[in-house]
Symmetry: C2
Subunit: 276 residues, 2 copies
Amino acid sequence: MKRLGYLGPPGTFGEEAALLYGPADERVPFLSHTAVIQAVRDGVVDQGIAAIENSLDGAVNETIDILLAADNLSICAEFVLSIDQNLIAAPGTTLEDIDVVISHPSALAQCRGFLESHLPRARLEAALSTARAVEEAVRAPNSAAIGTRRAAEISGGVLLAEAVQDVRQNKTRFVVVSPHDAAPTGDDKTSIAFAVAHDRPGTLIGALKELSDRSINLTHIESRPSREQLGIYVFLIDFDGHRQERAAGEALAAIRAQSNFFRILGSYPRFKEVGS
Amino acid sequence: MKRLGYLGPPGTFGEEAALLYGPADERVPFLSHTAVIQAVRDGVVDQGIAAIENSLDGAVNETIDILLAADNLSICAEFVLSIDQNLIAAPGTTLEDIDVVISHPSALAQCRGFLESHLPRARLEAALSTARAVEEAVRAPNSAAIGTRRAAEISGGVLLAEAVQDVRQNKTRFVVVSPHDAAPTGDDKTSIAFAVAHDRPGTLIGALKELSDRSINLTHIESRPSREQLGIYVFLIDFDGHRQERAAGEALAAIRAQSNFFRILGSYPRFKEVGS
């Protein structure tokens, strides 16, 4: 029924996100977020998952840039995943056995405090991905890796310590990209991008007023310089509501009328965190 | 006279930024942007350089979070560095000799297109930093590294190919953090952070109106959820002008009066790009 693209390899947070998103007949790993989204555009997969906020590899800019350029694709869902790094080794290994810790350098950097206090003498070694690091560490004696719970499952490793990243609350927001966005559910969000000719606050106020006049909540705003035209700023805005609802639809039409560039990235159900 | 902290090791973009920033008696490498800024706070260095937008290691969130918390530090300068990745090897090496390409995985990912078209059979190997990769590659036969021009200088390597990243225009904005911000020059920017109790666009409009009513240009805006208090949004805004100028000073006082949390991150000279 459904082929779902994600940033691989299996055992990284991309696969954890793909598994969290729900059932799929096939989950297909790609080498970059750009490749994931291009695969959706080309019909190689039906949907693709891409990190859009606060991810390990700084995928935010890459994902936003390709979404802005992908006219015929939409965001159809969002969700937030806790990014927990774990210390993983072969079964039977103890902390005292470990001479080497292997991982993606960014993952090692995220766990620096833990490593300095618990494994101060261990040598750090780089791997191309956390998944590969776990694979290697489970095979090599006296070594451990920093990686996902899923990678430990795949490689037959055990978790010597859980959630060892220095910042406890490490969350990444993912979006699901598809040829169409989602039908209204009554609790939705809409993401748009638009550009105005000047970076004066007055022009942004005009757009925001279209939302506030209709009591529509803003959930995210971000400006970014457009790559093509110097001096043109693109604003990215998320707000509560679905583009098919009357108030949101009117606000969108009014903002479009004021913009040099305007694109609805999609309307989709708001993600509800478990326990929040 | 001046000790300048940066994200090391020597030969990475952190050192290129520290060299670009100008004269210093000593340039001191640290392991993270957090460590750089803490060293300024503790008086270990006089100033520190940290990436704040679009950096290799996704330093943005880390830098912003620690700046928000560092009450007694300010931004005193900004500048933008082109992040060019180069293919580096020992003198005498040719493209045909290369079996292995070593680098930080994020740097390898940035150059995927080049590597696939020019070195399709080369094996990719991870290193903890681009600087270490260059050091290793210059010593090992039949290997090359992806790294900075500065790393090639330090290690005695040569550039086999320049600016090999897939995205040509790869720029990172750095800020200089110091106990004080800068005196007015007549062409300055001011960065502030403030929080309002609700994420309604109306409250943000109130703040933006204080700028637009005084014809002050907005150069950047970004919202981010506050980590401490759920539901409280922090806005980060950069605008043209110095906090000691009358219009900017009045706008700042008015925004402060409307905010639950308010902090001037600093006023500093606007960076002028060569050729722009």
